[in-house]
């Protein structure tokens, strides 16, 4: 018998002439965690779909436990013990945990009538596999992302899974939840189950995986044990270029603060927050999810009304009642979830860029489309947004480029203060650095920037000053020379 659980060689797949996979080789060992890494659009999900039987390969050989498989159908994949946990987890938010757990096997067994006792038995059996406890009567939609994920894992285990494929499982999780997930993954490993872990977060990959397969443009550029790989090599294979860390060095920080926050409170989000912000600096605000960092930012942009305390702009007390008012005061905000809060995905790129400054390209309420377009093209060029036509929808862009649109949208407005919340969440390594460079440039031009992030290394390299929040309070503040990963982590936990 082969050493590998799943062995794929020379896999090719093309979609209407575009080669999505180009002779990919791929091996998974039983009881090991294999990470499949790569930037968006590199062919990761196509590969997963071939393994799970959704797509049929054009070329190449697949062996499962030493046996050659000619054609994989979804049913065949399930029978072999291949389970995919998709990023959206494939759960039913309107149904109870019990039903969510039982539903798959009920359908496979072709049941017609509901039997609550049998459902409970199935559900309990599923939960016992990883020793996880939860109220079966709770509706799935009421659970946290981490709990939903555990339920989804339990459900996958019901089918005597030998290989579980997890598609970017850590995207919406906090650090603590990720740790809990990894404990579960290790438990599954001990039971001899192979895990295929799709991610592009370097830290996680090095923490959890035994083997790594890195893909770029439909080819796998690295395959082998994680131990053989350094972090530098990793980002080289991911992007195809060597990326040097490029810390932010402030050029000219103004003496007088542009923003002063004094004893700001908004129950129950944060308490007694005081800090200053100067033009030309990048201030980092970090803390765990729920530490009040996002709510603080929202207050500065008029989205949450503080209960007490003062906000001073250029020494003048102001009350920021609404986002319109904030805009008037030359404060810009790029939200955490750019997809739902910052962008109209099904609108042209050009329209998105100009969305916050339509008055500049209109006269008496009538839009000048030609002006809008030429103005937008200027920003596309300045920020090197990767598109051949700004008329295309925003959703055609990659995450990094979408973030650039959101940035340009605000830059268009002659700001004094720019607040960036999680500016590189879900963005590839290469695009990440492009965005950081852009932000550095903005600070050099005299903008005061606040970066809110839980990505500590991002805060360390890009901020000249960092505030650490915990449970709604500021628990630490440090200047650039004192900022290290380790110190922040110590304060946070």
């Amino acid at each position: 018998m082969s050493e590998y659980l799943l062995e794929m060689s020379g896999i090719c797949k093309a979609f209407s002439g575009v080669q999505a996979l180009d002779h990919v080789n791929f091996h998974i060992r039983p009881g090991k965690v294999m990470c499949l890494a790569g930037e968006n659009g590199c062919g990761k999900s196509t590969l997963v779909k071939i393994i799970s039987g959704v797509y049929v390969r054009d070329q190449g050989d697949v062996f499962f436990q030493g046996q050659k498989l000619d054609r994989i159908t979804p049913a065949e994949a399930t029978r072999l013990g291949i389970q995919v946990i998709y990023q959206d987890l494939s759960i039913f938010p309107n149904l109870t945990v019990r039903e969510n757990l039982a539903i798959n096997s009920e359908i496979t067994d072709r049941r017609r009538i509901v039997n609550r006792k049998r459902w409970t038995k199935t559900a309990e059996e599923a939960l016992s596999r990883i020793g996880y406890q939860i109220d079966l009567d709770v509706k799935m939609g009421e659970l946290s992302v981490a709990d939903k994920q555990l339920v989804a894992i339990c459900r996958a285990l019901l089918f005597n899974a030998r290989l579980i494929i997890m598609d970017e499982p850590t995207t919406a999780l906090t650090k603590r939840e990720v740790d809990a997930l990894f404990r579960t993954v290790r438990k599954l490993k001990e039971e001899g189950i192979a895990i295929m872990f799709i991610s592009h977060k370097v830290e996680e990959i090095f923490e959890i995986s035994d083997d790594v397969c890195i893909m770029r443009n439909g080819k796998n550029v690295f395959e082998g044990p994680t131990a053989d790989l350094t972090r530098d090599d990793f980002s080289y294979y991911m992007t195809g270029r060597r990326i040097q860390p490029d810390p932010f060095v402030p050029e000219h920080i103004q003496e007088k603060p542009v923003l002063e926050v004094e004893k700001l409170c908004a129950d129950p989000y944060y308490h007694d927050i005081s800090f200053q912000l100067r033009k030309g600096e990048i201030l980092g605000i970090t803390g765990l999810l729920g530490s009040g960092r996002t709510e603080l930012a929202m207050s500065l942009f008029g989205l949450i009304r503080p209960d007490s305390g003062k906000i001073l702009l250029n020494g003048q007390p102001v009350s920021i009642k609404s986002p319109e008012k904030a805009k008037e005061l030359r404060i810009g905000y790029v939200p955490e979830d750019r997809l739902t809060e910052g962008l109209c995905m099904r609108q042209p790129i050009a329209d998105n860029i100009m969305l916050a400054s339509l008055d500049k390209v209109s006269r008496r309420g009538i839009l000048n489309h030609r002006k809008l377009f030429s103005e937008a093209c200027r920003w596309v060029k300045t920020f090197s947004i990767a598109t051949d036509d700004p008329h295309k929808y925003a959703q055609t862009l990659s995450g990094g480029n979408q973030q650039k649109i959101v940035l340009s949208k605000w830059m268009n407005n002659n700001l004094d203060i720019l607040i960036l919340n999680g500016p590189t969440v879900g963005v590839d390594i290469g695009a990440k650095q492009d965005i950081h460079h852009l932000v550095h440039g903005l600070a050099h031009k005299g903008l005061a920037v606040i970066i809110i992030s839980d990505d500590i290394s991002e805060v360390v390299t890009n901020c000249s000053r960092v505030i650490v929040m915990k449970e709604g309070m500021i628990v630490g503040e440090m200047k650039s020379e004192e900022i290290t990963d380790q110190r922040i982590t110590e304060i946070i936990h």
Binding site: Y86, S90, P93, N94, L95, I107, T108, R111, R112
Partner: protein
């Protein structure tokens, strides 16, 4: 009752609808000087709930699956008009109404299958599709087949069924009211819908599809087939309910159903069904229909002009849709 069960109960729209219904009945009872709970009024209200209640149930099952059916009144009108016309022309159904009902069910199922075929195969928005087919079906009824009103020539067995009753009651002024036997249809349909939704995998599939269609497909449900069956069943039932209505009204009027969907769908939403699918129950739906019937009946009792009925129907639409939207918002958090 323990605390979590109570908490869960107070989260449900059905709970509030039920309380409002009880409070309303109590209120009107006092304002109308005890007229509402008189036996004659009660049987009238029950009679008024038969057709609307059954229509609401078919709307409910479509909405649970995440769809909207605007075409059920048009299907119903075509089915009963065609069935009655054929019965009259052939001289059928003088003693037994069965043939008429079977014809209506058949016609309803055929039109429903048309809906189902488009919706399942082309994966289109159900509201748009049924908006189109609604007009199309009405066109069939009125234009292509030129169906006429049938009143005095209505087959005798239809008339007999509509007039049959379980018992009669009299109020203080000596007015007579009867409890129609067709209430049995409503009761059976409540029982069957309840059973299907809660106890069969088909019913659970509707909830699953309404909750997350992609997941339902991945879980192994044959979503296409389930949707097709759903719309055929809804069409068949619309035909059947239409026939019940013909019997109760003792006339077949092709235009009688116009705008019915705008009265029924809001009630279903008021009863706790979500406009985004995946939520809703038979109990809530029936409570909401009860509420609307009580309100419209009481307005006559309390002596409010019948024009106000539109006002209240509109109000119900707004309240129902607001509740649904607020709940969806809360869930997304």
């Amino acid at each position: 009752m323990n605390k979590t069960a109570w908490k869960r109960l107070t989260k449900r729209t059905e709970f509030y609808i039920f309380i409002v219904l009880i409070a309303l009945i109590a209120g009107i009872q006092i304002v109308s000087g005890g007229q509402l709970l008189e036996p004659t009024t009660l049987v009238t209200i029950l009679r008024g709930m038969v057709v609307d209640g059954m229509f609401a149930l078919i709307c409910l099952i479509v909405m649970i699956s995440g769809g909207f059916d605007l075409s059920f009144p048009a299907i119903s009108a075509f089915a009963y008009s065609a069935a009655t016309t054929i019965c009259v022309n052939q001289g059928w159904c003088e003693t037994n109404p069965l043939a008429g009902f079977l014809l209506a069910i058949l016609f309803g199922a055929i039109l429903g299958a048309f809906n189902g075929w488009i919706i399942a195969n082309f994966k289109l928005n159900t509201m748009i599709v049924t908006l189109g087919t609604q007009t199309f079906f009405t066109g069939l009824t009125m234009g292509l087949f030129q169906m006429k009103e049938i009143t005095s020539t209505l087959p005798a067995s239809f008339r007999a069924l509509g007039e049959s009753y379980f018992f009669e009651v009299y109020n203080s002024q000596g007015q007579r009211s009867t409890l129609t036997t067709s209430i049995v249809f409503l009761i059976i349909m409540i029982a069957v819908t309840s059973f299907v939704l809660r106890k069969t995998m088909f019913g659970r599939a509707l909830y699953a599809i309404g909750g997350n269609e992609v997941s339902a497909e991945r879980a192994g449900y044959n979503v296409k087939r389930i949707k097709f069956i759903l719309y055929v069943a809804v069409g068949a039932l619309a035909g059947f309910i239409g026939m019940v209505r013909v019997c109760l009204a003792r006339q077949s009027i092709p235009k009688a159903m116009v705008g019915k969907e705008m009265a029924i769908i809001p009630a279903v939403i008021l009863g706790g069904a979500s406009i985004f699918g995946g939520e809703g129950s038979v109990f809530g739906t029936i409570c909401a229909i009860g509420l609307i019937t009580v309100v419209s009946n009481s307005m006559l009792l309390v002596g409010i002009d019948s024009y106000w009925q539109n006002f209240f129907n509109g109000l119900v639409i707004l309240i129902g849709i607001t509740i649904s939207a607020v709940q969806a918002k809360r869930q997304r958090r």
